[in-house]
């Protein structure tokens, strides 16, 4: 089997697992719904700055909860099985792709709920939607690698947050800054494009690091 086929097979397996153990998927959706509902009840009508900050913090927490399970659910025996059938780089690439897709879906739900409950300060909703997807993909990438690291330790869920928060700050600041373009804030020409390029460069860096470093993580 070529590597591309292997990735496809691993992705298919993730999807199958997701449809057979639906409680995890619905669990995350319920988590999003209740988080947004709590924010809706505690904040009457946040201004655009607060809205933006809250939105990205919510994205961050959704990401931790959605991705923490991606390595938790793999039992030791099953990891051994993967070990015998795929190279590590293929395995981590499949995980990265799957988690990015998962985050894109969850982020769309999150944005819809935000718009429904708290309104949307964005002048161009489509633009903000695309920005939020981009941010969600970045969060998904970085936390996949951190979930892999944390899965080797005890107290994995809280450890993931400790390991991840310092690393996520630059991305989060870039995203918050970039989001303001959708709020009709005036930027110098070329700055939004520059921010997008920076984010893309960071994402590429994360993928490269994951592929290089994951082989060391997975052998026991």
């Amino acid at each position: 089997m070529t590597n591309i086929n292997k990735i496809k097979a691993l992705l298919r397996k993730e999807l199958l697992l997701e449809t057979r153990q639906q409680h995890t998927l619905y669990g995350i959706m319920l988590y999003i719904a209740s988080t947004v509902f709590v924010i809706y009840l505690t904040m009457e009508s946040p201004d655009s700055e607060t809205w933006n900050g809250l939105f990205w913090i919510t994205q961050l927490f959704i990401c931790i909860n959605a991705i923490a399970k991606s390595f938790l659910q793999e039992a030791k025996g099953r990891m051994l099985y993967y070990y015998s059938i795929t190279p590590p780089s293929v395995f981590i690439l499949a995980k990265l792709i799957y988690n990015v897709v998962l985050m894109l879906v969850m982020s769309s739900i999150n944005l819809l709920l935000y718009a429904a409950f708290l309104g949307s300060p964005a002048v161009s909703f489509l633009q903000f939607y695309l920005i939020s997807l981009m941010g969600a993909a970045g969060l998904g990438l970085i936390f996949t690698m951190l979930a892999a690291i944390a899965s080797k330790a005890m107290q994995q869920a809280s450890l993931m947050a400790i390991l991840g928060f310092p690393l996520i700050i630059p991305q989060l600041l870039l995203m918050i800054r970039l989001s303001k373009t959708a709020f009709a804030e005036v930027f110098r020409e070329g700055v939004p494009l520059q921010l997008v390029m920076l984010l893309a460069a960071l994402d590429i860096l994360i993928v490269l690091l994951s592929v290089i470093l994951y082989p060391f993580l997975w052998k026991d």
Binding site: M154, L167, A201, L202
Partner: protein, 233 residues
């Protein structure tokens, strides 16, 4: 007791940096006054911290390549001393800021919220948080071999993410801190030639002192391991 040449160099340079730093002439600037002498101590702490963290990452890479346990001990010790230097950097910076940045109409701690938003301080805070997380990660894995491997992976991953951070954040936020575009004190226009005569030796001296402390910790840890192994036999 015989000391190797670099330990003697460290002692000599630090004596020079402390005595020279206090007595040699400095440029007179109205906002800074004599607090400018803090440059020899405050900035050096950050330099030493970054150099020690870099050494720690190099040892992590070596560990992953060779699997030699002493590299893991070294990576941990250098990261520990680097963190300690970072805390000292914050302490010296806080003293400095309380004379230069803090709002004189309010008590010094009231300015904390606005001072912490400085990009350079955020970068430093991220570095310290990363290494704090590194130590938590280490302590939460029991198996020695696995601890070394996993923490080495995190060390490299986090360090590689830290550099874009330090480069990006100053360009996103406004700053009072010197050296807006790049690194203060390395830029030859920023720093007076008289100060450079003390500053560069001071950086080397503090870094060597950090390395000295780290080597002591490394030797102590390795001896301790040996003792445990002998007791088991």
């Amino acid at each position: 007791m015989r000391l190797s040449w670099w330990k003697l160099t460290s002692i000599f340079l630090l004596v020079y940096a402390v005595v020279g730093g206090m007595f040699l002439p400095v440029p007179e600037l109205p906002q800074l006054g004599e607090t400018i002498r803090n440059l020899y101590y405050h900035v050096c702490m950050w330099f030493a911290m970054m150099i020690l963290f870099t050494v720690s990452v190099i040892h992590s890479i070596k560990y992953l390549r060779k699997g030699d346990y002493t590299h893991d001990v070294k990576a941990r010790s250098y990261a520990g001393v680097g963190t300690y230097m970072g805390i000292l950097g914050y302490a010296t910076g806080a003293i400095w800021a309380s004379y230069t940045w803090a709002d004189p109409n309010n008590p010094a701690y009231a300015s904390f919220g606005s001072i912490m938003r400085e990009p350079k301080l955020i970068g430093a805070a991220i570095a310290l948080l990363i290494y704090g997380a590194y130590f938590i990660l280490r302590s939460s894995i029991n198996d020695m071999d696995q601890r070394a491997r996993v923490s080495a992976v995190y060390n490299i991953f986090a360090y590689a993410m830290l550099f874009p951070t330090i480069w990006i954040i100053p360009r996103l936020l406004p700053s009072l801190h010197p050296g807006q575009e790049g690194n203060p004190a390395l830029n030859f226009n920023d720093i007076d030639s008289r100060m450079r005569m003390v500053f560069y030796p001071a950086v080397i001296g503090w870094t060597l002192l950090g390395a000295w402390i780290a080597t002591l910790k490394i030797r102590y840890t390795i001896l301790l391991e040996k003792k445990w192994n002998n007791n088991e036999k």
